[in-house]
């Protein structure tokens, strides 16, 4: 993202870090550039509660990064993490001015003496506050000229002492200590990086460690809201460690304090800041640390540093001379949303990452104004467990053979109670005048796999009457519904995946997909929602009413549903049967009318938009191209919406389609995914097309970024040609040129 010129000024006004050793001042392409905020150094402070304009941020730390969490801890309460912030914070680099003592981040708070605190972030109410005037954010840094080298500090197994290690020696030992150091020092309590910068403008670059003692430091900062029980809400620009003493670098994980000693907090009434996840608090000699034991099976240390999105390594040689695609050079991964999760690549895989080709962090496509925060969204639909059927009546699963015997059995039951008052007997025994009515309902289901029933058959009980025929038995249904899951897993390539290189041909309206779901019918599904995900269909059959609903899920989230009818009512009397038939007919007619009405109006609008969209003229290339795309897309979506509405109309009674549950017997009882893909003409030749027509795209860049046939709108600011020549060039590019 390009820095906001209203805040940071134009790029040619930025100040380059000339005094910083390690940078070649002659090549401004890779020298970090910074800007004061306001006029002069005294004015470059951020007023409370303002934040740094985060248009200079090149990425953001995702919630699952190992450095996403910030806690406050108190030395006198060594087991308590007071405030946990799962943060998604944009990050940027900042320059530490040498005139300050580096006290521009808020790292601890003295709760015993409110008048003598050292708060260095905006807070106008305290005496020493507002020393943030030395925050000077980097408007740009060059990733390829800034390599971080990992350093860890760890305690001995018996906690008797600690030491500092380059990470490669911690893992592998060195000449004087062949064993890896983690065998003796397993308790890591601090992870940080030293910054190496390029010194020469040549292919054979070397980098030099930035000596922050002399010339100031270079840090990775981040902008977060930091709510603390004792501090006011402030903007906390901290991820870094500060200059001072022997320590210079970028703090990544562990507790830090104001004096550049990011390893312990030793004053009981101070509250310290504690960065990173999965750490355990411990008091050592009245000081508090957070530690994590080394684990060879995870890659925790590197993942912390990878969360900065820059090149990093474990050893001196790679830091100074390593090629950016060498096996010992790592590069933190920035995902398509600009988020850092702690993933990284190394070796030639680094070349696949966007930072590999950045000139500066301004080339990042991360947009901090887009708050894509997936912690605000659920990732699974919650289905309840099966409910029991009420015991007012009894439901049995029976076979056709048993059913055939039931009617005869009722007659037998009536003769059992034959007296002169047969009606009275009937009422007493069956609670109804007509014994047939003690069969409250009879439904036929075209399945035999019904979960949720008693395994042992029991004798059918017709009111008070139990047959003596031992074959008239059924399995009592104890649950009201059952669910059947059908899965099309993405890993097995059973779902929807692109076949045209993930281009427009792989999406609607060119490619369509639909699911054929037993008992429910056919439903079209939007490709964009399901591409690259598992498709799950959860069919829930209601055994009380015979209705069913299929929930169509992307992974574990239900996005759509469609209803149908699995059970078929069997009329056990003439009146019942007539009622059922008329309900079925009405429902079908209503459905078909709704479908015809909605589709007719939208299809004509769609066709009209398509035909107008195919016209093209040179005059306004971009306007025509973008608006045509929008119109076609809009009309296609509108037509899809009508189709979707028609398919998902809740028909009040029986069926959504013309088929019944019985007819479903004839169709396969499985869920089927059908994908309709377009076909390209066999005469299509991509090479010829590239040279004669060019592929539709919408890309911004410089003229020199493109090659081949190019059609576009060019901005000729700064080119000192005549007005007529400008018109010629603009028109030539609008019609198409070959670069």
């Amino acid at each position: 993202m390009t820095p906001n010129v209203n805040v940071y000024g134009a790029a040619d006004t930025w100040l380059h870090v000339l005094p910083l050793s390690g940078y070649n001042a002659d090549n401004k392409n890779f020298v970090p550039a910074w800007q004061t905020i306001g006029a002069g150094i005294a004015a470059s402070k951020i007023n409370f509660p303002d934040a740094i304009d985060n248009s200079i941020c090149y990425a953001a730390i995702a919630e699952d990064s190992p450095i996403a969490e910030i806690n406050t801890v108190q030395a006198s309460a060594p087991t308590v993490k007071n405030t946990t912030l799962p943060v998604r914070s944009p990050i940027f680099a900042a320059f530490l001015n040498t005139e300050s003592y580096g006290k521009f981040t808020q790292t601890y708070y003295d709760i015993s003496n409110n008048t003598n605190v050292q708060i260095y972030t905006p807070n106008e109410t305290l005496a020493d506050a507002n020393l943030n005037k030395y925050v000077q954010p980097m408007c740009s840094i060059s990733p390829k000229d800034t390599v971080l080298k990992i350093v860890v500090r760890a305690y001995k197994d018996d906690w008797s002492s600690w030491n500092t290690f380059k990470y490669n020696e911690y893992l592998n030992g060195n000449e004087s200590h062949p064993l890896p150091y983690y065998t003796e020092y397993p308790h890591i309590f601090h992870i940080y990086c030293l910054v190496y910068a390029r010194t020469e403008n040549s292919e054979n670059r070397t980098r030099q460690y930035i000596d922050a003692d002399n010339v100031g430091g270079f840090y990775i900062e981040r902008d977060i809201e930091f709510n603390c029980p004792v501090w006011d809400t402030v903007k906390d620009y901290t991820l870094s460690c500060l200059k001072g003493g022997a320590f210079n670098g970028v703090h990544v994980w562990g507790i830090c304090d104001v004096n550049g000693k990011p390893y312990y907090g030793d004053t009981p009434n101070y509250i310290y800041k504690c960065i990173g996840v999965d750490g355990t608090l411990k008091t050592i000699n009245d000081a508090i640390i957070m530690y994590r034991d080394y684990n060879a099976s995870d890659d925790f240390v590197r993942r912390c540093v990878a969360s900065l999105g820059l090149f990093f390594c474990d050893d001196d040689n790679t830091a100074e001379n390593g090629a950016y695609n060498s096996n010992t050079m790592y590069l933190g991964t920035i995902d398509e949303n600009g988020l850092l999760h702690g993933d990284y690549t190394h070796g030639t895989d680094n070349e696949t990452q966007s930072q590999y080709n950045w000139i500066s962090t301004n080339d990042s496509t991360y947009d901090p104004t887009k708050d894509y925060d997936n912690t605000k969204y659920d990732n699974a639909t919650h289905f309840n467990t099966q409910a029991s059927v009420g015991s007012c009546n009894k439901r049995y699963i029976i076979t056709e053979e048993v059913l055939n015997k039931c009617v005869g059995e009722l007659a037998t039951a009536l003769t059992t109670y034959t007296t002169d008052t047969t009606q009275e007997s009937s009422l007493k025994a069956f609670l109804t005048n007509n014994p047939m009515d003690c069969i409250i309902s009879l439904k036929k289901f075209p399945v035999n796999n019904i979960p949720g029933y008693a395994l042992t058959p029991t004798a059918l009980k017709f009111g008070a009457y139990t047959s003596s025929d031992a074959t008239i038995v059924g399995r009592e249904l104890t649950k009201a519904w059952s669910q059947y899951d059908f899965t099309f897993s993405n890993n097995n390539r059973n779902g929807i995946y692109p076949v045209y290189g993930n281009t427009f041909l792989d999406y609607e309206p060119y490619t369509r997909a639909e699911l054929i779901i037993p008992f429910c019918g056919t439903v079209q599904i939007p490709l964009a929602d399901f591409m690259g995900h598992d498709i799950r269909v959860r069919l829930i059959i209601d055994f009380v009413t015979g209705a069913c609903t299929a929930f169509i899920m992307r992974d574990l989230i239900a996005l759509m549903s469609i209803s149908g009818q699995a059970g078929v009512d069997i009329g056990v009397s003439g009146v019942q049967t007539a009622t059922l038939d008329s309900q079925i007919t009405n429902a079908n007619m209503q459905y078909k009318a709704a479908q015809l009405n909605s589709k007719e109006t939208t299809v004509s609008a769609f066709a009209q938009t398509i035909s107008s969209g195919l016209k093209a003229d040179v005059g306004s290339v971009i306007e025509r191209g973008v608006s045509n795309y929008y119109n076609m897309e809009h009309a296609a979506l509108y037509e899809q919406q009508a189709q979707y509405n028609a398919e998902h109309v809740q028909v009040p009674f029986k069926q959504l389609s013309a088929s019944t549950g019985v007819i479903s017997l004839a169709y396969e009882q499985a869920c089927r995914l059908v994908i309709y893909r377009p076909k390209l003409s066999p005469d299509y030749d991509a090479d010829v097309y590239a040279k004669t027509v060019g592929f539709a795209c919408l890309k911004n860049g410089k003229v020199s970024d493109f090659s081949g046939l190019t059609v576009g709108a060019i901005n000729l600011n700064g080119v000192p040609c005549t007005a007529e020549e400008k018109t010629m060039i603009i028109n030539d590019f609008a019609r198409g040129v070959i670069l």
């Binding site: 699963i397 059913l403 439904k443 059973n494 059908v674 890309k699 576009g712 020549e725």
Partner: protein, 159 residues
């Protein structure tokens, strides 16, 4: 002024054209007031010059398409030219168009279609490839049987 006659076989739309020289630097004389965009000038006759289709005029530091050639009495060749603005301003060492911002709506260099719909791509109308697959879980039997669920009154008194 000095001109250099050139020949290119590149497509007219090529921006950074490749030239072979048809002549060395020649002295040329305008036939009248000479426009910077559509110059007309004469040079001494040489049959090889007639092969040229481009000319570079150092005075203007521009490249020109030769739109007309005429041999005059007195063994002169008159060249009528029109500026090739894009080539001229691409090849300039300073103030060129290489770093100009551009929004591209079609490009051959990307090699394949993108997510932007392309109404010129030859998709066969009304013809589709149909791909179908069955779910991995096949809950029901291929020879489905049926069952009945009967709901019965519960209760009553034996007479």
């Amino acid at each position: 002024m000095n001109i250099t006659l050139k020949l290119t076989t590149d497509d007219i739309r090529v921006v950074n054209k490749t030239f072979t020289d048809v002549s060395t630097a020649l002295s040329a004389v305008p036939t009248a007031d000479m426009s910077i965009l559509q110059p007309v000038f004469t040079v001494s006759y040489n049959s090889a010059y007639l092969n040229a289709n481009y000319v570079y005029i150092d005075l203007f530091d521009r490249y020109y398409k030769i739109t007309g050639k005429a041999v005059t009495i007195g063994e002169k060749i008159v060249f009528t030219c029109e500026v090739d603005a894009k080539t001229s301003w691409y090849k300039r060492t300073t103030g060129n168009i290489k770093n100009c911002d551009i929004t591209v709506v079609r490009n051959g260099g990307i090699g394949q279609p993108t997510k932007i719909p392309d109404d010129k791509l030859p998709v066969i109308p009304n013809v589709e490839d149909v791909q179908t697959t069955i779910a991995e879980n096949y809950w029901f039997s291929e020879t489905p049987s049926t069952c009945y669920i009967i709901t019965l009154v519960n209760g009553g008194v034996s007479p």
